[in-house]
Symmetry: D2
Subunit: 376 residues, 4 copies
C-alpha cells in the first residue's frame, strides 16, 4: 500500500498522551485487584509510560495527576521525564478524594471548601508552567445525589467563580480543558453534566478554556462525533480522554468495543483539518482507561494501536467522493465510501510507517518479546 505524502505527514503529526494514573492500582467500588504490574511511585509510572512510547513511537506525552504524582521537586520530575524522551502534556488536579470534598469542591456551598479547591487548582497551574505542559485538564466530581440537596444555579455560579481566577492564571498559549460527565460519582446531577454545560462555562472563562470529550462520558446513544464536529466548529474543542464503554463510564481499552465509532470520531477530526483547517494536532489526545483485569502496559499499547488504526482508516476516507454522494443525495454511495476506508486492513500501512521511523512494526509483540521479559 503506497502511502501518500499527506497521509504520511498526518500520521507523523498524530500523538497520544499516556496517563500516569493508568499504571496505579485501579478497580471498581467492589474490589481492586492487583496484577503485580502496578508501579510503586511516579518514577515507576514514568518508566511504564516510557515502555509504551518505545513500543508505539507515538506516545511522547504524559498526563500527570496531582497530588498523586506530587514530588518535592518538580524540576527533578521534569528532568526525569525528559531524560526518557517524554514530555508533559497535561496536568490533572484532583479535588474529589479529600474528605473535605464530600459535597463538592469548586461548587461546594462552603466558601472555605471552594477556596481549598481553587488553591489546589492554582498550584496545578504553577506546576503546569514549571513542567511546560500545554494542557490543564479539569474534571470535577461535583454534583448531588438527591433532588433538593442543593441549588443548581448557586452551584453553577460557584463553579464559574472558582474557575475564573484559574483561567486568569494560565500562561499564554496554555489551555484549560473542562470535562463533563453525566453521572458517577454523583448520581442525581453533576455540575458539569454535558458538553452544553461545559461550553457555557468555557464561554464565561475566555478563549483559553476549551471542552474535553471523554468518550465514556455520555448517555447511551449520544452521537459523539456530531458533538466533536460542533465543538470544533465553535472553536471550543480542546481534547479527548480516550477509552471505550458499553454501559456507563466503563473505562475499557480504547477501541475494544466500538472500533467503528472510534473511526467515525477520527473521521470528523481528519475532515476538520482537510476541509476546515483545524490541524489534527491542535487538540489533545490522552488515554484514560482503567485496566481492572488486564495487564496495564500492554493495555495501553493496545489502546494506542486501536487509536492509531482508527485514525489511519479515517485518513483513507475519500471526502470528495462523499461530497459528491451528498450532493446527489445518494446514501448508498456514501456508505460505500466509508466502507472502503474502514474495511481496509491498515496494519501493513502502519507497519511501513513505523519502519520508516525506526519504531517497532508490531508494538504489542515488541513489548511482549523485548520488554516484558526484561522486567521479569
Amino acid at each position: 500500500m503506497a502511502v501518500s505524502p499527506e497521509i504520511s505527514d498526518m500520521l507523523a503529526r498524530f500523538t497520544v498522551a499516556i496517563p500516569s494514573w493508568g499504571f496505579s492500582p485501579m478497580g471498581t467500588r467492589f474490589a481492586t485487584f492487583l496484577l503485580g504490574d502496578e508501579a510503586r511511585d511516579i518514577y515507576g509510572r514514568i518508566d511504564r509510560a516510557s515502555e509504551v512510547h518505545q513500543a508505539t513511537g507515538i506516545t511522547p506525552g504524559l498526563a500527570l495527576h496531582f497530588p498523586w504524582d506530587r514530588t518535592d521537586d518538580l524540576g527533578a520530575l521534569g528532568r526525569y521525564i525528559h531524560a526518557r524522551g517524554l514530555r508533559v502534556e497535561a496536568v490533572n488536579p484532583n479535588t474529589f478524594q479529600d474528605p473535605t470534598y464530600r459535597l463538592g469542591s469548586v461548587a461546594h456551598h462552603d466558601p472555605a471548601v471552594r477556596r481549598q479547591a481553587v488553591e489546589h487548582l492554582l498550584w496545578c497551574v504553577e506546576a503546569q508552567k514549571q513542567l511546560d505542559a500545554p494542557y490543564l485538564s479539569l474534571w470535577f466530581a461535583d454534583g448531588t445525589n438527591y433532588p433538593g440537596q442543593a441549588d443548581f444555579r448557586r452551584r453553577h455560579e460557584a463553579v464559574l467563580d472558582s474557575l475564573r481566577p484559574v483561567a486568569a492564571a494560565l500562561a499564554p498559549g496554555h489551555t484549560m480543558l473542562v470535562e463533563y460527565k453525566p453521572f458517577e460519582p454523583a448520581f442525581y446531577h453533576t455540575d458539569l453534566a454535558d458538553w452544553g454545560t461545559a461550553l457555557l462555562v468555557c464561554q464565561q472563562l475566555g478563549a483559553q478554556a476549551k471542552v474535553i470529550v471523554d468518550l465514556g462520558h455520555h448517555l447511551q446513544g449520544h452521537n459523539v462525533e456530531f458533538t466533536v464536529a460542533l465543538l470544533q466548529h465553535a472553536g471550543r474543542l480542546g481534547g479527548f480522554h480516550l477509552n471505550n464503554r458499553k454501559y456507563a463510564d466503563d473505562d475499557l481499552m480504547t477501541g475494544s468495543l466500538d472500533p467503528y465509532g472510534l473511526f467515525l470520531i477520527f473521521r470528523e477530526l481528519v475532515k476538520g483539518e482537510r476541509l476546515y483547517g483545524r490541524r489534527i494536532e491542535s487538540v489533545s489526545y490522552c488515554l484514560d482507561q482503567s485496566a481492572n483485569v488486564e495487564a496495564k502496559v500492554p493495555a495501553m499499547i493496545l489502546s494506542v494501536m486501536n487509536t492509531q488504526e482508527a485514525f489511519a482508516k479515517a485518513l483513507l476516507v475519500d471526502e470528495d467522493a462523499l461530497a459528491a454522494a451528498e450532493a446527489e443525495g445518494d446514501v448508498i454511495a456514501a456508505q460505500e465510501v466509508l466502507r472502503a476506508a474502514f474495511l481496509t486492513d491498515v496494519r501493513p500501512m502502519l507497519a511501513e510507517f513505523r519502519r520508516g521511523r525506526g519504531t517497532p512494526e508490531d508494538p504489542l509483540r515488541y513489548h511482549r518479546e523485548r520488554m516484558a521479559p526484561a522486567r521479569a
Copy 2:
C-alpha cells in the same frame, strides 16, 4: 388547606396551551387508530380546545400548526378563536412532510430546498403577527440516517443561514423557540440534537431566539430539571412541550408515568421566580402528546390536571428550609422538605382555587358529565 396569597397568585398566572394537532388522527409508523373523536378541520380542533379550556379554566392558549391549520382567511380564524375565549399562543411551521424534505429542510444541501423551507417559515412569521401569537415554535426533522450521508458542519451552517432571516423578521416582543431532539425521524444524527446545539444556534440568532424543552426529547437518564435551570439562568429558556415517556419520544399524557419528575421540573421554575426573579409566565407551556389509544379531549384534560398538580406541589416547597438543609449539608432534611410538598394531596387546594374562579372543581368529571354527552 389555606392557600397563601402568593400561591394563589402564582396559580392564577399559570396557563397551559393546547395544540390543535392533538385532536387530529395520530398514530405510530405501524398504524393510526381512529376513536371517532378526531376533529375534521381546524374549526373542530378549536372547538375541542375550547372544551378543554371550559373544563380546566387554565388553557386559553392555542398552538397552531401550518399548513395543517391553514385557512384562506387568517383573520376569520383569529376571530373564531377569540370568540371562544381563546388566544393563539404559538405558531408551528411544518417542514418535514413535503416530499421535498426527504433529506432535510433548513439544513438540506440543496439551496432550493432551503429556500422553500425558509419561505414557509417567513409565511409563518407573518401568520404569527396577524394572529398575535407570542411564540414561533420551531422543530425540524432534519438529520441523517447514516454516517457519511452529509457533512455535519455544512448542515449546521445551513441551519444558521436559514434561520437568520426568520429571526430578523420577528415582531418585537415575539419569541422564536428552537426545539431539539436526539433522534426520530432521523436515526443517525439530528441537526438540533440536544440543548447545547439549540443554545449554540440561539446564541447566533439574537435575543429573541430561545430554547424549547420537549420533555420526551432526551436520551435516557438526562436530568431535565438541571437543563431547565441552566437554560433559564443563561436567559435562553423559552418554553416547554409537555408530555411523558418511558422509552423514546413516546408522547404519552403529561405526568402519566413520572409525576415526580414533572414536579421536580416545576420546582425549578417556581424557584426561578422566587429566588431568581424569572416570572413563571415568562416561558410557554404547551402540551404535545399523541393519544394513540385514548380519547383525545379527556387525554388533554388529564394532562392539564397532572401538570397543574405538579405545579401546585412545587408551590408548596419550602425553599428556606431547603437552603438551611443545604447550608448544613443535611441531605436527609432536604428530602423531608421535598417529601412534605410532594406527598401533600393538592386536589382540595386546586378545587378551592377553581371554585374561586368559577371553573369546574373536577375538570375531568365536568367534561364527562356535561360535555361528552352533549356531543353524543
Copy 3:
C-alpha cells in the same frame, strides 16, 4: 488468501432471507417518502428480491407478510417464486393494522378479537404449509401505553391461550418464531417485552417454538451476543431479524453503524457450530430494515454484504488461541485474537468465494452496472 475447506463449506451454507415488505413504501410516523423504486405488488417485490439474489448469490429465501402479500392463488405465488430461483423462508402474519387491534390482538381482553387474530395465524400456518416455508415468524404489537390500562398476567395468559392452537397446527419440521420487543408501538409495556418473556412463552408452546432475535429490539446496552449464546445453548434460538440501530428500533441497514457488534454475534454462531455442534444454518437469518432515505434494492444488497463480511470475519477467529488465552487469564492475548480476525480485509476472500460459485464478485457494483440501468 487461501480459504480452508471448512471456511469454504461454512460460507457456502450461509444464506440470508429477504423480506418482501422491504420493497414497499416505508417511513416514520412523520412521513413516508417515495424514492420511486417501490414495488407495486407482491410480484414486483419478488422481482426485487430476485435482483438481490442475482447480485449476492446467498439470498434465495424470501419472507412473506400477510395480508400484505395475499393473493387469490398461493400455488401460483409459490410457482412465481420458484421460477425465479427463490424459495419461501418465512411467513409473517400481521395482527397490528386492522382497527380491531387498537388494544391488542392475541393478548386483547375481548375473546372475539383474540379469535380473529388466531384465525389469521392459523390461515398463515396453512399458507406456510402450502408454500413449504420452514418458519412462521410471529411479532405482535400487543402492549399497553399506560399503567393500569390492563392486567399484565391476564394478557400473558391470553397470549399463551392464543398461541397454543397455532403451535399445535404446525407441520412437523416447521418452526414457530416468537419475537420480542421492549417498546413501540406500545409505550408502557409490551406483552413480549424481552427474550426472557419470549422464552417463557416458547417453553409453554413446545419444542417447535423458538425465539427470534431482532437486532434492534433491545434496550440500550443489552449484550445481544450473550443472549444469542444463551438461547442457542438452551435450544431455543430460532433466528434473526437483521438490521442496525443507534437509538431505538431504527431499522437501518445491517452492519451500517456497529459492524463489530455484528461480528461478535456471528462469532457466537460460528462458535456454536465449531464447539457446540449447532449448525450455522439451523437458525434463520432474515433482513428486516426500513429504507426511509435510501434506494431499497441497493440497501438490501449492502446489508447482505455487511452481514456476509461479519460472518466471514467470524470464521477467521482462532478459537484454540482464545481458549488458551482464557485458560491463562490473558485478556490482552484474547483481544489480539479477535483483532486478527476483525482487522482482516475479507473482501478478497469473499470475491474468490463468489467467483468460485459464479456469482458477481462485487454485488453492489454488479447491481449498479447491470440491473439498475435495465430497469431505467
Copy 4:
C-alpha cells in the same frame, strides 16, 4: 381515613429487611467518605438496624453478609440479634473481593477457584440453617470486560455446576435467591445478566431457587413491574433489593427519585395477592442502598417510609374499577383509578396504623428526637 380490615391486615403483614452492610463505610470507586456514623463491627451494625426497627416498627429482619459479618460464634450472633427483637432474614455470601476472584468465582475457568467459591457458599448455607434465615441471597460479580475474554457457554455451565450442590444443601422451606445485574463490576458481559438468565438458572436448580429483583439492576427503560408480575406468575419471584437510581446501579434511597415507579411495583404485588393468591409476605423485601453522602440510619428509615407509603398507596387501588375500565377499553378511566390511589396522602393512614401498634407515628422525627441525641 378509615382503614379497612383487609388493608390493615396487609399493612401488618408487610415488613422490610435491613442489610447489615448498609451501616459500613461505603463509597464509589473515586472515594469513600466517612460521616462518623459508621458501625465498627457486626454488633454495631445490629444496633443500628435495631434503631431502624424501633423507629419504623416494620423492619425486624436483618440481612447478613459473609465474611463481612463473620464471627467465631454464630450462636452468640443469633442470640444478640434476637435479644434486640430482630431475626435474620437473609444470608449473603461474598465471592467478589478475594483476589482469587479477579476473573470470576462460580463461573471461573479454574475449577480450584470455583471450588473455593462453592465451599464458601456451602458454609453460608450452614450459617443460614444455624441462624434460621429463610433466604440465601446470591449475587455474583462474575462476568468479563472484553469480547473473547471467555466462553459464555462454558461459564454458564460452570455457574450451574457450582450452584447445584448449593441448592441441594438447602434446608426444606429455605429459598435460594438468584440475583441478576447487567453490568458493574464486569463491563462487557455478566454471567447473570438479566431476569431471563436468572430464570434459566433457577429452572435448572429446582423449586427452591427463585429470582431476586434489585431495582437498580436493569437497563434504562426496563419495565420492572412487568418483570415482577411475570416472575411471580411463573412461580419464580423470590424477593427484592430495594433502592433507587437515575442512571446505573446508583443505590440511592428507595423511592427518592421515582416514587411512582415504586408504587407501580407494589401495585403488582398487591394485585398478586388480591387476584392471584400470592401472599404479599411470600417474597422478601430488603433494602440495598449505599449512603455515600447522607447519614446512614436516617437514610434507612426514610427508605422504609417511602417503601411503606408506596405499598399503602398500592393498597388503595380499586382493582374492580380497573377491571371495568379494561373491559371497556377506557384508558382514561384506568388512569383516574391509579391517580385516586397515588394522589392520596397516606401519611395520616400510616400514622394511625403505627399508633395502633404502639410504634412512632413519624419514624424519622422519632429517630431524630430520641435516638440520635442519645448516641451523641
